[in-house]
Point group: C2
Chain length 425, copies 2
Amino acid sequence: MTIATVDLKDQAGKARTAAAELAASSEDARNAFLHDLSAALYDRCGEVLKANASDLSAAQRAGLGEHVIERMMLDDERINGMADAVRAIARLPDPIGVTLDETARPNGLRIQRITVPLGVIGVIYESRPNVTVDIASLCLKSSNSVILRGGKEALETNRALAGIIADSLPAGGLPRDAVQFVASTDRSLVREMLGMKDEIDLIVPRGSAELVRFVAENAAMPAVTGGIGVCHTYVDAAADLDAAKDIVINAKVQRPTVCNALDTVLVHSDAADSFLPALSREFGNYGVEMRCDPRALSILRSDGNGAIRKAAAEEDFGTEFLDLIAAVKVVDGLGQALEHIDKYGSGHSEAIITEDSETAESFLARVDAAAVFVNASTRFNDGGEFGLGAEVAISTNKLHARGPMGLRELTSYKWLVRGNGHVRT
Amino acid sequence: MTIATVDLKDQAGKARTAAAELAASSEDARNAFLHDLSAALYDRCGEVLKANASDLSAAQRAGLGEHVIERMMLDDERINGMADAVRAIARLPDPIGVTLDETARPNGLRIQRITVPLGVIGVIYESRPNVTVDIASLCLKSSNSVILRGGKEALETNRALAGIIADSLPAGGLPRDAVQFVASTDRSLVREMLGMKDEIDLIVPRGSAELVRFVAENAAMPAVTGGIGVCHTYVDAAADLDAAKDIVINAKVQRPTVCNALDTVLVHSDAADSFLPALSREFGNYGVEMRCDPRALSILRSDGNGAIRKAAAEEDFGTEFLDLIAAVKVVDGLGQALEHIDKYGSGHSEAIITEDSETAESFLARVDAAAVFVNASTRFNDGGEFGLGAEVAISTNKLHARGPMGLRELTSYKWLVRGNGHVRT
């Protein structure tokens, strides 16, 4: 395997030039590309699997962990999944050229605000090769050029996928340079990419919390900060405790390794005596370990059954576990719950379980997070579940985009002003 | 005059705490504050003028230029103008709690997206003290805390104004800490402020292009980039040349020192012979100097009347003159005009003058700028003229806000999700 010398400036310049062409492309052209890409992924499946096999054996030789190998491994089913996702993106409405508002001023000037592409989007991601296809499709659907910098473990797989994407661009009459694949595992290229603020309009990191933080701290251009969630569910005194148990279990165990999974359960003291033993038994069934504050621990002490439980350390509150572990704390009411969330939450996904609509509305109004839930699992904080059709990331930024980012969040806008000789007085 | 020791971290912490209180404030409370402030500015006019006199005499002693002194000077009329602006802001619709969209998903989850404050806004500005009142009012109207760092020339004036603002906050039951005035001229505080990305959600620079660039390059948090405009007007072959002349004159001379004033006129070669001599005479009447490319110069050579003209240097194209100077270039059609704008424009305000609607629409579609005009002066790129009611800045960023920023652009949003026991499968 030869590592090509990579000229990132040159690649970014080509992406910028292609972006100007893309901005003038039609919805039909972009969808023709996506349909061609979807078909090519089925047709050229063997090519991708061969590249993937090469990455896999290198990973095994390097002694990489099982979970890394699981994430990078492709098979027919996963490639078909990618192809289906591309077709689904083709079916979404065109995010470009949408009129956001339109007014006629008293002086007769007609003012319109329409969506336009951002320009060039840089993506830095880790071992899941589906990101290559997923993000490139979303960027192209929204008329943006994309620069792809994947993880070193999946280099050959990503190279094969990027080649297939580039080969499909002509089917829509789109410029091949619109997709730039950084064909090197040189770590210094990430730093170089993060400094290119005149060349790249937005950086999207996809991967671990560590990657997201690195990008947020080092990017000279705007970067999406997302994928880090310290998520609370507050079980109020007025909760339906059966529903509460189901929701807490779902939020914790349905997919514990993702950012919108539950980390801490806050339980109202009036509900704790009856709720915590029931929750403990159910957590026990799923192998969830409970890290309890003194009050929760004392309630559970007398109960011989249920989950493994320990005294919580201070750092358990505010930790994103990404594992079958939950911190548990008893609070004396909404005020204490809000204080705790304010102190320890990451502004991602927060939930209350209550039948009291006043308490629910108060929680919705006062929690400062991307998504706030009443009587539902935090696992619903997701572009697909919110009806966006596709998801770029779940942002915890407050500027530009917050929460699930779909195609709309890959656009900017411009103001179009039509007059007939208007001058300002 | 004692310079107090400033603890910026402490001030920012107080602003953050106040922001949480503000987020729960009602529209009535915020408007009550604004009405009280407006009245207090009339009532305490003498206090402000006294502080201003002290700044003015210090400025004169320091030998500051006439234009600095003109900008910082207040009188009854200017203070009344501030008070009127505050009342106008009070009358604008509440930007907070606005439902942006609302859907019910097939599974019954009800999903709503509503506007919320950004949190803490930092403002770094130069010698115009009206910014103190203007920006603080916009920030408070949108439930944001604000940290004000004004220019050293107007320290006492700004201190007096900030005091009046803080004194009006209780009229709305709002926390005094919501407005933090940085009462020191120590330059290192600007750098410290730009590093406080956990404390400040958005930085707004208001002043010279140099200040805006400094903030853009050094801010660790998102910053508004605006106020820098290299603005073109392209006079097409199909232009109404009388209208074109009026528009170009207006764009150049109505207020030459602002960012949306014209810098370069591009003239189609078919129109140049008749347009340029007429323009030159009119520019001559207003004292505008023309810096011409060779073709424009040769057309004007035979014309004894009109404006001062010189051969343009390469750097005249792409310069924001902020003065009675215009660069002039003859082009062979729309394509060359677009290429020139693409190369030299700053993405602020660009205009075409033409009666050909196809050419007009092509220009609108292809120019990548915050605002694109047909048959109108670029001077209209302004929050008030666009109907936003007030203006924070004119952004040339593509993320979050582009073009005139009003109250809406001082908001974020959050997703509210209401279920009845929903779990994800």
